[in-house]
Amino acid sequence: MKRLLFLRISLLVIAITSQGYLIYLIRTDPGDDLFLGEIIAISILIYTSTVISFGIRNFLRIWNRQRNSDASIQELEGDLNSMKERLILVDSEIRKQVGVWLHGSVQSKLMKISRELRFYDLSEIADEVDDLSENEIRDYAHKLFPPALNISLEAGLVDLVEENVELVLDENLSEQSTMTTQTSSSGSRISGIPRKNRLVLPSGLAYAIYRVIEEGLSNANKKPEVTKIKVTVKVVGNSIEITVEDNGSKLSGPVSAGLGLTLFDIYSSNFGGRFSLENSQDGVVMRMVLMFTPVSVKDLVAQKKAGTISE
């Protein structure tokens, strides 16, 4: 440390001395001697201005680098978000396709085997095959992607909720605002005229809404005193607001992070939303907001016609 300081001071003295000598050599009138003080003062001034200009240059360079790196970070964040969206889409599409395959193709083949076994009076083995098909495979398919969601969010939620649950679904998501059919002349496409512009949710979002409500209901049902649960799904601009409200015991303090909260956290973060768990007048209310781009059946059909989305 001391050696470095000594080196810097030496360099400073050498720089000032050499500048002073330079000024002495290039003075305009050799006969006109400058005072030593003037030479030193000019030297210090030149040195200082040089240091300042170098400093400014370095500062500008660092500032530019910082600005560029800020832009790069923003670009990276954008890329990361877009990758996250694609991952969610791929994840839900794969879940959906595997679920459909298990529900359709695999179960159908097992059903055929089972029928043939029954035809040959092998009912016991047929029962085992049925058990595999109707319990294990169905459960697994359901975990991957609840099959009722293939019909609509409403069908999925109606299938999910028990009798003690009041389900209030936004009109824009309801089957009652379904489309009327209109077939093209080639008949190769299914299109429609929406009556009330029912919104079409991406499968990833429908899946997230389903899982969030499922978790909310599971939390509410853990409290034995709960007799009534209200689930509301509302479309507000570019967001979906979900609330699950029960009439059970209230929260006594901050909720510790468990699997359920982690799940809420993941979904709200994946869809740029937020969630809260707080006491209400009668019990506890879980609120979650998930962001999305509203696309109606009409928009979707128009996009399909324009070829801006894949078939």
């Binding site: 529900h103 179960q107 029954r118 095959v129 080639s186 008949g187």
Partner: protein, 134 residues
């Protein structure tokens, strides 16, 4: 008329309907797209639609379009047709969603190896009766 993409179940439905004296099978389709294609060319001429349409829920080539929503949209557009939905899942509560939109004429069958011919026939006849009296 039925729409069923699973050849084994389609074979079963054909066998059941052809052997029944109460049911006259008009046509069968392997997918919703198949149904739509024929509908586009033939539905304008005369009484093309049957009394009852047996529709597999997941019989679309494009999995974003399901048979239940399509059948419901047919009803919404004014086609008087009873609908028997067929699926591996239990459709009980889900059927109520469609009943709310278009009351009457809805039945559901769950695809299992235990499903009997009589159950299929009675679902079709009940859906037809309900549409007639509606």
């Amino acid at each position: 008329m039925f729409v069923e993409d699973d050849p084994h179940f389609a074979e079963l439905l054909s066998a059941v309907f052809n052997s029944s004296e109460q049911i006259d099978l008009r046509a069968s389709f392997k997918s919703i797209e198949d149904f739509v294609r024929t509908q586009a060319s033939e539905a304008q001429s005369g009484n093309w639609y049957p009394d009852v349409l047996v529709m597999d829920v997941m019989s679309g080539v494009d999995i974003r379009f399901d048979g239940a929503t399509y059948a419901n949209s047919l009803r919404t557009s004014g086609v008087r047709v009873g609908v028997v939905l067929v699926s591996s899942m239990v459709l009980g509560k889900i059927l109520d969603v469609f009943r709310k939109t278009n009351p009457g004429g809805w039945r559901a069958l769950q695809k299992t190896s235990r499903l009997k011919s009589e159950e299929i026939i009675s679902a079709v006849l009940e859906a037809a009766d309900e549409m007639r009296t509606k």
